[in-house]
């Protein structure tokens, strides 16, 4: 076996970064609601796909620019996120119960998607689909670049907001110790709804990115769950930057394995890495 060329390695790593950024983008909203609201929101994936289908519908049937659909999708899904959180909060569910409830919700959304769009494959043929940049020997597809840019901007944006704004600090305080924070006059409920809104909007944005680069089927909602969960947990619950870096790490490690060895062995590298990290990483008790 000859050594893989540098271009191949670089192109593969790039591909890993792109897919990793999508893991990160999907994981970001999940991480926020899991870490800060203690809601394991499986429906996050369902919402992302619903947004993707919506984007498909608006863009390929309605002829709207896919990125313009964000104008509608972001507020819509923020509202959806808030509505779900409001419901869950009313019943004050434990994290596991939230997993159960949102699983039910996922089934409903999946059925809804299949009912309206059928189970057949849908692919958005947008103006961006075929576009790519050429940098040296490397090709950078535009849809993936958009995903990466959004993922990085949102992750760092939310990170900065959590650090430097009053709201962000209040949120972190709430996550650390809700009763104490409440004693300092922080309105837990309003903040929870705000987070849920942000998380919902993130699902919507991730959905548009999905629609830009992937062929959609209702059941592929579940294809993302395992690896995105891994990215979220590896990145640290409630962390804004964690999912992005963890997602990229998983994506790149898998992509490089695919480039130098057999693609079918790829999961073992990323997940063994993950296990080793979990067991050996010092600190974070």
């Amino acid at each position: 076996m000859t050594l893989p060329s540098a271009t191949l390695l670089a192109q593969s790593a790039l591909s890993g970064i792109f897919i990793g950024s999508l893991y990160g983008l999907l994981g970001l909203g999940l991480s926020l609601s899991w870490g800060l609201l203690h809601v394991i929101n499986l429906a996050h994936f369902a919402f992302a796909f619903l947004a993707a289908y919506l984007c498909y519908q608006l863009a390929s049937v309605g002829g709207v620019d896919p990125l313009l659909t964000l104008v509608l999708i972001v507020p819509l899904f923020a509202a959806l996120g808030i509505a779900v959180q409001w419901l869950l909060a009313r019943f004050s569910l434990s994290p596991l119960n939230s997993l159960l409830a949102t699983f039910g919700l996922t089934a409903i959304v999946e059925a809804g998607i299949q009912g309206y769009w059928t189970a057949d494959f849908r692919k958005l043929e947008s103006v961006y689909a075929g576009e790519k940049l050429r940098i040296g020997g490397l090709f950078v597809p535009i849809p993936e670049l958009i995903t990466l840019a959004l993922a990085v901007a949102l992750s760092f944006g939310i990170y900065a907001a959590m650090r430097h704004t009053r709201l962000g600090r209040a949120l972190r305080a709430l996550a650390e110790d809700a009763p104490i924070a409440a004693a300092f006059g922080i309105n837990a409920q309003a903040h929870a709804l705000a987070i849920a809104g942000v998380s919902g909007a993130l699902a919507g944005i991730a959905g548009v990115c999905l629609a830009l680069s992937f062929t959609l089927t209702p059941s592929s909602i579940y294809a993302w769950v395992g690896v995105v969960f891994a990215a979220v947990m590896l990145g640290g619950l409630g962390s804004a930057l964690g999912p992005l870096f963890a997602g990229a790490a998983i994506g790149v490690s898998e992509a490089v394995t695919m480039a130098v060895a057999s693609p079918s062995w790829a999961p073992i590298v990323s997940f063994t890495l993950l296990i080793a990290l979990l067991l050996l990483r010092p600190g974070r008790t």
Binding site: P4, S5, T7, L8, Q11, S12, L14, S15, G16, F18, I19, E110, A111, Q114, W117, T118, A119, D120, F121, R122, K123, E125, G130, K132, R134, F139, P141, E144, S213, F214, T215, T217, P218, S219, S220, A223, W224, V227, G251, E254, A255, V256, M258, A259, S262, P263, S264, A266, P267
Partner: protein, 400 residues
């Protein structure tokens, strides 16, 4: 709610016959019940919908012709949710609690294997449309409509390479990339063997797990290997995703073959131009000359559009599905009874005429002739290009 209506009619008929004091006639009037499952939800739902539409068309046509053995036919379909274990349980239910008279196979290979186990246990005939691994069909009363012959791992690649050899630019090097999904994986392994025997130089062999999300690195490696011909052992969506990934790094293979692509999206994709695939039926002559084919195609266009299927053309899946029902009808009519042994004996001896042509079941694992043809995406449509006798009028294999 068509079945509901039929059921009501049947109930009415039964009531009539009872009132007429003819209890014996009652049995003769009760419909023949055919049971099956389909993956109406879950990852296999897209293709299952095709089989549901076809089954409904066929049962309707059959009943218009007077049904089977003078009795109406009723089709009971359950949703196995793309889970083979659920399919198994549901087939047990169909046999033991619904007490259906006949079985029709589910979609796809995994579920059919489950159903086959049940059929074998209860000595029922099982006709199925989409079973991809003949060597695993070890039951003597199962009848396949997926007419690739008993050894597709050898014959399918051979046909593909024959087609390429007859093209203006026969390939010298080959890259084989494949999903580990069972029904395509064994074909790709077969392609490897055949390519070696035929003297093609293998420049790349890759396998990925079914459910892989990132095709970028695979595409990059194909581009790096620069094969004359690319064999893609992909199922459904995977082929499209790989095509997308290759397009993203500005690569389009010279000649490329996809095992079981999702028919609609692939022909519609501009990237798929010149992509090859296998077929047993397409919507053009000479296939459309088969008896009943034209009418079926017309009905299918209508119903598929109504069911919301985006690509309404009849191709392999729909044709295989239709053939399976034709086999079942032929078996029952030929045997003159619902006796499973008699049906099986008749089919083994006589085969069945279908829109794919005449099918035999006397080969190994009850498979008969290899009816595989090669088709190609040309200007947004699938057209058969090989062998010549089945090529669409004027169509030949194109290369870049």
């Amino acid at each position: 709610m068509r079945i509901g209506r039929i059921a009501r009619q049947v109930v009415a008929l039964c009531t009539l016959s009872v009132m007429a004091g003819a209890p014996l006639a009652q049995n003769a009037q009760a419909p023949i019940r055919v049971g099956s499952t389909l993956a109406l939800t879950g990852p296999l739902a897209a293709t299952s919908l095709v089989h549901k539409v076809v089954g409904e068309i066929y049962v309707e046509q059959l009943n218009q012709r007077g049904g089977l053995l003078g009795r109406k036919v009723e089709w009971i379909v359950k949703d196995d949710q793309s889970k083979p274990d659920l399919a198994r349980t549901l087939y047990e239910q169909l046999v033991t609690s619904d007490k259906v008279d006949l079985l029709m196979g589910p979609y796809a290979t995994g579920a059919i294997l489950s159903a086959m186990g049940v059929a074998q246990r209860y000595h029922k005939v099982l006709v199925h449309h989409t079973f991809g691994i003949p060597s695993m069909a070890n039951y003597d009363m199962q009848f396949p409509a997926w007419s690739l012959g008993p050894d597709p791992a050898t014959t399918v690649p051979n046909t593909v390479f024959d087609a390429l050899a007859a093209s203006p630019a026969p390939p010298k090097t080959i890259a084989i990339v494949t999903s580990k999904f069972p029904s395509v994986h064994f074909m790709s392994l077969g392609a490897r063997e055949v390519a070696k025997k035929r003297g093609l130089q293998e420049v790349l062999f890759l396998e990925w797990d079914f459910g892989n999300l990132d095709y970028g690195p695979i595409a990059a490696r194909i581009k790096d290997a620069k094969p004359d011909f690319l064999w893609v052992g992909a199922l459904g969506l995977e082929g499209n995703q790989l095509l997308d990934a290759m397009h993203k790094i500005d690569y389009s293979p010279k000649e490329h073959f996809y095992m079981y692509p999702a028919p609609g999206p692939m022909s519609k994709s501009p990237l798929a131009n010149n992509a090859l695939s296998m077929t047993m039926f397409e919507e053009h002559a000479p296939f459309t000359n088969a008896p009943g084919a034209a009418e079926f195609i017309k009905l299918y266009h209508e119903r598929a559009a109504k069911a919301g299927i985006p690509d309404t053309s009849v191709e392999v899946q729909a044709a295989a599905s239709y053939s399976a029902w034709q086999i079942l009808e032929a078996g029952v009519k030929g045997a003159g009874s619902l006796d499973d042994k008699a049906i099986a004996a008749y089919l083994k001896k006589n085969g069945a005429d279908t829109i794919q042509g005449h099918l035999r079941f006397d080969g190994p694992h009850n498979y008969g002739d290899d009816l595989m043809r090669v088709k190609q995406v040309q200007d947004g449509h699938w057209v058969t290009v090989y062998p010549k006798a089945y090529a669409a009028p004027g169509a030949t294999l194109r290369v870049q």
